[in-house]
């Protein structure tokens, strides 16, 4: 049964990213980048930044609303929260913002993420939050790239998903980046040969399978569906944004089943149940790919394909706009647009509903955004045009 309290009762009405900088080169601390993104997302919506009364983020975000309110002229801060744990929390942050709005806790909520190595920690360390288990560190496993590599290796060797699917996800992202003037990877000519010849990071991942952190800020503004109607932009209605972990998941280190999972067991099913739609209805998807292989797992768990049919579904031609069966990561995604803990994927999911993506899927009415895969808790969201309400 659809969730009538949350389905279509709020909308994203403002989006903005700061420019993308190579890590450490923005010359601005993360808090300032967060402010820039929030202010310009509010301007995009046609809302004065002082009206923002809710602040929601996720992961290791430290630029909380209370620290920014003097600069925003905040009239009253009424709601603020951080969603666990890492990038898995993004769509859940949208869901939490929606909960705050529909229950009257806040009227205008900013969901955002900002990172900068300028006067900040190494972003890689910041994102990992020092919570890597000794079971991993003692044995030479540090980076999410390595931990995700273990899952994708199993997907390939035990489930028989072709390694080529990882490559095609990367090719699709870089292909889309070429048309996005803001993308960090817009000038990278990636073809199959360049991919195969690129160095390994952690097998089965090549360099081009892995996202790399950037200095940037990214924000979106949510309001009630009623208020959204009167604003400047075409609303992207939030249909659902469940978060969670199935029984036997959570902090299972290497013992979760299925091992190749990106964590969406049950969560994706709830998305379809809450929204009344299914994978076959989705027009375009932003698939958080910290690493390509985890994006493949996310596609499988959302029901777009099975391990057995992944080889047919996850092909370059099928993943690109405008005519692929499921265009993904149409801004270039985490890999090729830039990585700010996945947050910019929300903005691109919204632009597809507005019709303003640089790789627009014609007539897109249902736009999916899946959260950071492989996180012990994940979330996923479906955004829609008014026609799909």
């Amino acid at each position: 049964m659809v969730n009538t309290m949350l389905r279509g009762t709020t909308a994203v009405v403002g989006v903005s990213d700061t420019p993308w900088y190579k890590r450490g080169t923005s010359g601005e601390p993360a808090l300032k980048l967060a402010l820039r993104a929030i202010v310009s997302a509010a301007e995009d919506a046609g809302i004065d930044p002082s009206e923002i009364d809710g602040f929601v983020s996720y992961g290791s975000e430290r630029n909380d609303g209370q620290r920014m309110m003097p600069a925003l002229g905040t009239k009253e801060l009424r709601f603020g929260a951080l969603v666990w744990t890492h990038g898995g929390g993004i769509p859940g942050a949208l869901g939490l913002a929606a909960l705050a709005i529909v229950t009257g806790q806040a009227d205008v909520v900013a969901v955002y993420r900002a990172m900068s190595e300028y006067r900040g920690r190494r972003l890689r360390v910041d994102v990992a939050q020092d919570d890597t288990s000794p079971q991993h560190l003692v044995n030479g496993l540090d980076s999410p790239a390595q931990l995700c590599a273990l899952r994708s290796m199993r997907l390939i060797e035990a489930e028989g998903v072709p390694a080529r699917t990882l490559r095609d996800m990367a090719l699709a992202s870089y292909h889309h980046a070429k048309r996005n003037p803001r993308a960090i990877g817009r000038d990278t000519e990636l073809d199959a040969e360049t991919y195969e010849e690129s160095r390994w990071v952690s097998e089965p991942y090549h360099l081009f399978d892995c996202s790399r952190e950037n200095d940037a800020g990214s924000a979106v503004i949510l309001v009630s569906a009623d208020r959204a109607k009167d604003l400047r932009q075409k609303p992207a209605y939030l249909l659902g944004a469940p978060m969670g972990a199935a029984a036997g998941w959570g902090l299972r280190e290497e013992s979760g089943n299925p091992y190749w999972s990106a964590g969406f067991q049950g969560v994706a099913d709830r998305l379809w149940a809450d929204t009344g739609y299914g994978p076959g209805d989705v027009d375009v998807a932003q698939i958080y790919e910290n690493m390509t292989g985890m994006g493949v797992s996310a596609l499988i768990e959302h029901g777009f394909c099975t391990p057995a049919s992944a080889g047919e579904f996850v092909t370059f031609d099928n993943l690109i706009a405008p005519n692929g069966g499921l265009p993904i990561n149409t801004s270039g995604g985490n890999l090729a647009e830039g990585f700010i803990h996945g947050m910019s994927l929300v903005g691109e999911a919204v632009r597809q509903i507005r019709g303003t993506s640089t790789n627009q899927v014609p007539g897109a009415t249902l736009s999916l955004m899946t959260g950071g895969p492989g996180d012990p808790v994940v979330s996923t969201a479906l955004l829609a045009d008014a026609a799909a309400l």
Binding site: H136, Q146, E253, S255
Partner: protein, 144 residues
């Protein structure tokens, strides 16, 4: 007994596996089981979610199993710089039938050409070293 890893404590994770590392320093490979319902509880936790018991038994387990998954690391990241000279090195997740399929991580010892999911491995215990960040460690090697 004084345990070396205590002086090098890694604060990540939930910290329910001290007995695992202590056992390794004692030269034994032990995994936790619920003291009441006898379920294997790995990764270690503080309470059995099945029966509610707060007690665990740390039982010796045969260091023998199959590769459940693996990766060949070609880059030593910040917190594992100690292994920079080993690059590329293989890390294995071994599935152990002696503990109901518990999966235990360890670096691979010896040649890595036969590494593949499903391949049989046997483990041994390395004493604390810089490479393993002052902790003892399990190393897996492929059984010919």
């Amino acid at each position: 007994m004084e345990y070396e890893f205590h002086a090098h404590r890694i604060t990540g994770g939930i910290g329910a596996d001290d007995r695992f590392w202590e056992s390794l320093e004692e030269g034994e490979f032990r995994l936790p089981r619920c003291a009441d319902c006898k379920r294997w509880m790995w990764p270690a936790h503080f309470r059995c979610g099945q029966c509610g018991s707060w007690e665990q038994l740390w039982e010796p387990v045969e260091m023998s199993g199959r590769i459940y998954s693996w990766t060949r690391a070609h880059y030593a990241f910040d917190r594992t710089k100690e292994r920079a000279e080993d690059v590329p090195y293989v890390v294995v997740v071994a599935e152990l039938p002696g503990a109901d399929g518990a999966r235990v991580v360890g670096a691979l010892a010896g040649p890595d050409s036969g590494v593949r999911c499903g391949v049989e491995v046997r483990g041994h215990i390395d004493p604390p070293s810089t490479k393993s960040k002052g902790y003892p460690a399990v190393r897996w090697s492929v059984v010919d």
